[in-house]
């Protein structure tokens, strides 16, 4: 490829392409007459589908043509003046971010497809929200300026708030002695929980800006903050990312948000939004505050291990399928934090791998629940039973994803769990041993879910006429199955992409630790 072509504004293009689709939908919606609601809905679906597919195609193209996995450091960097005084518009990718950009662009068409029939009120608004969300999510992963990152990071709350609150599931709950809509409760909880973490991050960010005079991430990664200040900065960043990951005990927003969100919302939440937390730890906490990261490692480990065991046990007790998977997500993200803070190559690569793999698996599991929910409008485990006789294809797909979630070798979940555990074992064998029980527990609740939903006698009459998965659903789940299988059987190309980024973070980390020890 020629130089000039690879130097175009590719990342900005990928980031802002979805906005064009959103704009088209807005224009269409404004021009439409009141009686054309059906047409608007149909066109919005197609425009959203087309936009997300183009975005995906462009991102894949950029990845294969212009991205060189061998290079250490950031590629496809674009820099433009923005606010001035050290704050600029700067984007770029490295091994740790490019695959998450791809994960985002990959999941959006699937989300649109998943909501094709199940969302039929205010479709245009729904699609606009998803397209906006896509821009913000890609922005988070490509931003190379801390302020820019923060803007995208927090902006993603707005569409998600609306998605949960408007298209979430019906139902009420008791709150402070009043009967309120459960999805509204979940939307507020999601928003406010995440906001408080992010605002502490903002204060830390401003302090760093004052010290370093710039918010360029590359410059900040090599800027050595004083050891005393690192602790506070680390804690502020931790407040934000720990909520996002989420880590025990600040995970309680997640089950609510997951349960109430529409299927596609849960998929995005599990597959991508949670990854922003892990990505943040990797991109900021470890390289920028290496001393504090090392110092607070016991804290992270304690919380992760408690999180893994506690949420796995909680998952056992769930009566709601989505809630069960949500708790399992918290447990699986525990491996990510374990791996990241181990300071070992296996641990970190494994953590990033687990983030990717968990994206596919949990996304797929939420889609599976969505398949059932579309047919029966309930997520209660007790409602089901004996589905295997009626839904053979679904039984197969669901089984594979359940197994992947449990960590069956040959599927991606296994690699994503074993690598962080190896890394953890090197630095803290007790944490690794305790965390391993989480793998066993996950088999427990995963198999329980599968048995109660799929096996047994078909006792509920309402299930007598249930349809098996149709082509659209097979297509969505099939692609995810292939990805899970590919990552599980042949993880090394993916790990090789992560490797340069992990190496550079490790180098900063260990150099700083060695310097501090002297």
């Amino acid at each position: 490829m020629t130089e000039s072509l690879s130097e175009q504004h590719w990342l900005s293009l990928i980031t802002f392409l979805p906005l064009i689709g959103a704009l088209l939908i807005i224009i269409n919606r404004m021009l439409a007459r009141a009686d054309e609601e059906e047409n608007v809905a149909r066109r919005s679906r197609w425009v959203a589908m087309f936009t997300t597919l183009v975005t995906f195609a462009v991102s894949i193209g950029v990845y294969y043509l212009f991205y060189d996995p061998e290079i250490i450091g950031f590629q496809l960097v674009e820099e433009m003046p923005w606010i001035g005084n050290g704050i600029s518009y700067k984007v770029g990718v490295d091994g740790a971010s490019i695959l998450f950009v791809l994960l985002t662009t990959f999941f959006l068409p699937i989300c649109i497809l998943a909501s094709w029939f199940s969302v039929n009120k205010r479709v245009a608004d729904y699609m606009i929200a998803f397209l906006l969300l896509e821009t913000f999510m890609i922005g988070v992963f490509v931003a190379l300026d801390l302020v820019l990152f923060y803007v995208f990071f927090e902006a993603s709350l707005i569409p998600m708030f609306i998605i949960i609150g408007v298209w979430g599931s019906p139902g009420t709950k008791q709150f402070l002695g009043r009967e309120i809509s459960a999805r509204v409760y979940a939307a507020f909880k999601f928003f406010l929980y995440t906001l408080i973490g992010s605002l502490l991050l903002l204060v830390a960010l401003l302090w760093m800006y004052g010290q370093a005079g710039t918010t360029d991430i590359v410059a900040l990664q090599t800027y050595q903050f004083p050891a005393g200040a690192q602790k506070w900065l680390w804690l502020a960043f931790f407040a934000s990312f720990a909520v996002k990951v989420p880590m025990w005990p600040v995970h309680t927003w997640l089950p609510d948000a997951h349960v109430q969100a529409p299927t596609a919302g849960s998929v995005i939440l599990a597959a991508i939004l949670l990854k922003m937390g892990g990505y943040g730890f990797f991109r900021f906490s470890l390289p920028m505050f290496p001393l504090a990261s090392a110092e607070f490692m016991p804290l992270v480990y304690t919380l992760s291990v408690i999180g893994i065991i506690y949420t796995s046990l909680v998952a056992f007790a769930q009566e709601d399928m989505k809630k069960l998977i949500a708790y399992s997500s918290v447990a699986h993200m525990g491996f990510v934090t374990l791996g990241l803070f181990s300071g070992t190559e296996q641990g970190m690569e494994g953590a990033l791998f687990q983030m990717l793999s968990h994206g596919f698996i949990s996304g797929a599991l939420f889609l599976c629940v969505g398949v059932l929910y579309d047919r029966t409008h309930t997520r209660e485990i007790a409602f089901y039973g004996g589905l295997v006789t009626k839904m053979k294809m679904f039984a197969f797909l669901f089984l594979v994803f359940t197994m992947a979630n449990i960590g069956l070798p040959g599927l991606s979940g296994f690699v994503g769990e074993i690598l962080p555990l190896i890394g953890t074992f090197e630095v803290n064998s007790w944490a690794a041993i305790l965390a391993t029980t989480g793998v066993i527990l996950s088999a427990g609740y995963g198999l329980r879910l599968y048995r109660e939903v799929m096996f047994g006698k078909l006792t509920n009459d309402k299930l007598a006429t249930i349809r098996d998965v149709d082509k659209r659903e097979i297509f969505m789940l099939g692609i995810l199955l292939l990805m899970t299988l590919y990552l599980g059987v042949n993880p090394s190309p993916t790990l090789a992409v992560f490797s340069p980024a992990v190496d550079s973070v490790l180098e900063i980390y260990h150099t700083a630790l060695a310097a501090a020890a002297l």
Binding site: G165, V166, L199, L206
Partner: protein, 480 residues
């Protein structure tokens, strides 16, 4: 410098004063039937004043009238924003005033006089000039609050505002006299010098506290905020819009100038006072608004909270701090005018409505209005990338830089609390099922203001924040 130079440099103010009086005479001669034309005349006068201010005068700092009145880039920045805000406020009120049958020719003239008062406030570098500016502004505002004189609520608002305002002016004046007594000067520079050389500053601090209390009343900072919700609720909505946006802006700028120009040497003494006021304002603004059901009262508490955030910048006491106040208040003014334009659009066949619950399902019945409300309320909550976030960004930065880390963290927590009630409005608009529709016809000025403000919120971070920062930086630098 001779008298001609004085007139030349203060010409925008002289022009507004003369024009306001001319409009009054014209109004008396023609009567109320020409009040719309007089409104337009006032707008024209303000447009001319903008040109006079930005192109006349001097780029350097010039102090005239024995140092009582300064023309510098800080004052020019402030005046341009004040005039623009007043123009929008006058244009927005036209349709409303006619419908409510309170369109009278005194209205634009009173606004002009208030604007003149504010002009003097932001240029004043002498305590007496400060007091003159504040009184001219306040007296006009008292009348404006009671402008709907047949309405009990409006009259009550005006009365309350007047009684408490008079009290606060008394405090201010008492403080000024103490400051004069202990430093022997009323000019800012001389006070600063006197304060720096004085060994016994207790008396000065005593006066300063009174003075700050008076100013805090004018910008409705806690604990001097009690009047705000009642006056906001009682005054006719376009006048509330003017109250919330323009005098607040002028008051904060005056506040900033007094503190950093006259009392830089006793920064340690007043920093704590302002910081605590800032924290208290943020807290009251955040918690008290939660229970409100009337959107004008909600905006009153919201404005108290916003003043708290802006005070953070003053508490920093640095050039960055003043710069952040300028940025914050400018953005706040755009947001507030936009929000009130939307409140003016909340009209049903039976009349205006002010209940938040009436917004239910707005996104379905009036998508445009719903989007504007959503954007502006997310912006008021300070969610990026909307412009409201950038105001917070700079005041937090100033506070962190000045070592007021606790204040910044407290502010962060309070923004989360206040996000709750902003989200509650969004909740009504998006999550609730529709109720009765609003009427469509509210006048072009209201729609243009609302859309303009919304677009500024959405695209401001691309186009506006850079230039705004540069302008504010330039304006703030003359105070140091």
């Amino acid at each position: 410098m001779n008298l001609l130079d004085y007139i030349n440099l203060s010409f925008p103010e002289i022009f507004i004063a003369l024009a306001a009086m001319a409009l009054l005479i014209l109004g008396v001669l023609i009567g109320n039937k020409a009040s719309r034309e007089i409104s337009l005349g006032a707008v024209g006068i303000l447009v001319i004043a903008i040109f006079l201010t930005s192109f006349g005068g001097s780029a350097q700092r010039v102090a005239i009238f024995d140092g009582a009145f300064s023309i510098d880039s800080f004052a020019v920045f402030a005046k341009v924003v004040i005039y623009l805000g007043a123009i929008v406020a006058i244009l927005m009120s036209d349709r409303f005033m006619v419908r409510e049958k309170i369109m009278r020719f005194e209205y634009p003239a009173l606004i002009l006089l208030a604007v003149l008062g504010m002009s003097i406030m932001v240029s004043a570098t002498d305590l007496i000039a400060v007091y003159m500016g504040i009184e001219l502004q306040s007296l006009s505002l008292y009348i404006l609050a009671a402008f709907n004189r047949d309405s009990r609520r409006s009259t009550e608002a005006g009365m309350k505002y007047f009684v408490l305002g008079a009290l606060s002016s008394g405090l201010l004046l008492y403080g000024a006299s103490l400051i004069y007594g202990f430093t022997g000067a009323t000019g800012f520079a001389a006070i600063a010098e006197g304060a720096a050389n004085s060994t016994n500053i207790i008396g000065l601090i005593f006066g300063l506290v009174f003075f700050v209390s008076g100013l805090a009343f004018k910008v409705s900072a806690v604990p001097f905020h009690m009047w705000t919700p009642d006056v906001y609720e009682g005054a006719p909505t376009p006048i509330t819009a003017f109250f919330a946006a323009v005098p607040k802006f002028a008051g904060m700028l005056l506040f900033a100038r007094v503190m950093v120009e006259a009392f830089p040497s006793v920064l340690d003494q007043w920093q704590g006072v302002i910081a605590i006021m800032a924290a208290a304002s943020m807290a009251v603004g955040a918690f008290a608004a939660i229970a409100q059901t009337n959107i004008k009262r909600l905006m009153a508490y919201s404005s108290i909270g916003h003043v708290g955030f802006a005070l953070m910048g003053i508490a920093a006491g640095t050039a960055d701090g003043v710069q952040s106040v300028l940025i914050y208040m400018s953005i706040y003014m755009i947001m507030t005018l936009g929000t009130f334009a939307l409140i003016l659009s909340m009209r049903r066949s039976e009349g205006m409505t002010e209940n938040i619950a009436d917004l239910a399902g707005l996104i379905q019945t009036r998508p445009g209005l719903g989007i504007m409300f959503t954007v502006l309320f997310f912006s008021l909550a300070g969610i990026p990338p909307l412009l409201g976030f950038w105001g917070k960004f700079y005041v937090f930065f100033a506070a962190v830089e000045a070592g007021l880390l606790w204040l910044a963290i407290f502010g962060a927590v309070m923004s989360v609390v206040s996000a709750y009630y902003y989200l509650k409005v969004v909740y009504f608009i998006w999550f609730k099922e529709p109720s009765t529709e609003f009427e469509v016809n509210n006048g072009a000025a209201v729609s243009v203001t609302a859309w303009g403000s919304t677009l500024a919120m959405v695209f401001g971070f691309v186009v506006a924040i850079g230039p705004l920062r540069v302008a504010a930086e330039k304006a703030a630098s003359v105070l140091f």
